[in-house]
Symmetry: C2
Subunit: 461 residues, 2 copies
Amino acid sequence: MKKYLILLLWPLPLWLGAQVQQGDTDAFYLQKIYNRAMQQSRCYDWLSYLSQHVGGRLAGSPQAAAAVEYTRQMLDTMGLDSVWLQPCMVPRWVRGEKEQVRIVNSRKMGTIELHALALGNSVGTGPLGITAEVVEVKSLEEADSLGEALRGKLVFYNGPMDPTEINTFNAYGKAAGQRVYGASRAARHGAVGVLVRSLTTRLDDVPHTGSLAYADDAPRIPAIAISTNDAELLSRLLQEGPVRVFMRSTCEMLSEVGSYNVIGEIRGSVFPEEIILVGGHLDSWDPGQGAHDDGAGCVQSMEVLHLIRNLGYRPSRTIRCVLFMNEENGLRGGRAYWKWSDENSEYHLAAIESDRGGFSPRGFTAEGHDDVFNDKFKKAAGWLPLLEPYGLGLRKGGSGADISGLKGQKGLLFGLDPDTQRYFDYHHTAIDCFDAVNKRELELGAAAMTSLVYLLDKYGL
Amino acid sequence: MKKYLILLLWPLPLWLGAQVQQGDTDAFYLQKIYNRAMQQSRCYDWLSYLSQHVGGRLAGSPQAAAAVEYTRQMLDTMGLDSVWLQPCMVPRWVRGEKEQVRIVNSRKMGTIELHALALGNSVGTGPLGITAEVVEVKSLEEADSLGEALRGKLVFYNGPMDPTEINTFNAYGKAAGQRVYGASRAARHGAVGVLVRSLTTRLDDVPHTGSLAYADDAPRIPAIAISTNDAELLSRLLQEGPVRVFMRSTCEMLSEVGSYNVIGEIRGSVFPEEIILVGGHLDSWDPGQGAHDDGAGCVQSMEVLHLIRNLGYRPSRTIRCVLFMNEENGLRGGRAYWKWSDENSEYHLAAIESDRGGFSPRGFTAEGHDDVFNDKFKKAAGWLPLLEPYGLGLRKGGSGADISGLKGQKGLLFGLDPDTQRYFDYHHTAIDCFDAVNKRELELGAAAMTSLVYLLDKYGL
């Protein structure tokens, strides 16, 4: 494994004035972190470039390569102890021509074009497309229960996200199975294609893509997401009689290609073998700019290192920023990192992933290995009086896909926990763009992560 | 005082199925409120009409009259015990022709047009405009300290909102004095006009209006807000040498006109003399649609009554929704309401104002008369375990301008306390439009208010 080490001598006089003073209390130091984050952070500018100049950056795409190069260069400007690229192989899925989904037999309304996006990893329909009768179901179970009735049909998964879940990720978790597993479940019963209601509580014309996973034991049939307004329309028409739909997509999975995780770190001055990771994923879906998902998490993680340098803080432990590749449709970057880290007998004292959008932070979720979780969670919860003035709490819950495989190292895994109300307006769409991100909200997330890193570094776990 | 009483018999069978059951715990009932709010609330549709069809609705304008009529009609659809209009006289300020602010002597850049909005209540410059040299200050105190040096000049108040204040309202409170009092303070020293940096932490091209208050003992000179980008530009040019600016506005204060507060209530079944008020202000600034400020607060307050009806809840106390007129540039609606309420020896057990935008709610602030505040606050804080699952807290702080005059009745005054990060992106601008409001965030605010009303009604204070 090749490491590109860039060792720089940081110009000392630039930050001496900002150094932590001996007498600083933790509360005072957190205040410093926040003040600096709201005045001198660079994350919003980085996100502007990543979103508006690089744009959507699906793993294996030229844009993903550009994102690797851009973020590596930015990390290089910070005077870190090392910056390197960690190779990994990634799938290379391409969307091809604009998808078409069209109701072809509506007597009332003529031919109706639907707002559609092929699901990531899906096969295409072939250049001539597919025309078939639609069968609506609300769940995977309902599809199974219909069995042979699905043969030769297009199965339309129309289970909505539950709007009464206050945390929208809970609603997403309950509804996402249709998108991920719906194609293979329908294919086992002879279906020829799948339409999926977009995963959002909004009613609008914006289709949401996202990955599907084909089972090994079922034919691979094409799957396309349609907007929620179109899902409602299709459902109404189905109540009046049979509906035939034409769908066409030319997406395909090409051969795997090489890519990278981008890594930068500040070596710990006392316990360098104890690693505190901050990270997000650098790849994004292709239709939009991947601003919230997960450009925000990447630039916030980079900002943690930048703030530490800017404040002149010398960490006792190693602070490492990892921008993971291919979270969206393969998790290959995460897997490569876990394997490499375990092989090198590393110990991640803690890891913090930001992958829930750049919204106003409300705290952190935490998970960990059963052997250690309760004790470590309790210790982290002891810092709540310092975090609560910034509106931050701590609750048990998932951390992030890219760091989930580090659980075996028996540190504590955190997820930044922002306000969730707007995330699924943008998630996996053409409107996940820079202008949907608020500068202050983004910066507050970076400050929250830096504050937690400071406490983890100072007190351990 | 004339009351338009519309008494309707609510069709009982429609809501019987939704009625609160004897065995419902408070936690279960709050869950019901939230579920209903996220599925059947009408506030987002009302806001769409108020923002997109009525639009900006400064007190005394035809749009304000349309807003009165529209909201009265909507309250009339809810089967309340009474809906009425409460008259009040309001100032009638008109903006006139598009403002002009222009740097006229920049050698480098030629004539430079700035993004400008006259401050509300300001006099105009006269049709020929004013051209004068600019003097920059950062505060009212700095203006006073310059004294005679301001004679014949345009005073440019360029004190920025402090980006390090986590709660943006604190930053606003510290900076707003320049806008409100700057004109008269400068006029006392002979200044001929005032430019004010827009009140936002963003750097952009969007000017923010807002009211000024002329002192009786100073000449009335015109005042215009310029965007933050333009404020930065002007400040840079001033560092290079004298800058002359041409400003022109034709705004003027016309004669007072009649308007109304819009009121609807459900009479209490056990303690009808104990009033729980929910409210916002119906007027808004003219350049945008007044969506966050304060269309959101109005439709959330209306939604409280709608949810109560929709759930079939019979309150013990009187629940009253008040949409106040003229909060922005006179507070006449509020004053008329306090006077009328005091004259009728009313007792407001509690009042909740929503006037901080339709953002994700984080709880409530509360204030009250010194005689009773601590005890009542303590009692309300006892409900926190019920509210915290919805991300709601309670802290001491201001309630709302329109209800502040009810303090003498010795109830508890609350302000809905949403996330504050985005509010001053939109506040008093042309971009405070419907599309800046998120449906779920708006509905969650209405659910939070309804939950607090439920607890106030059930347990008193």
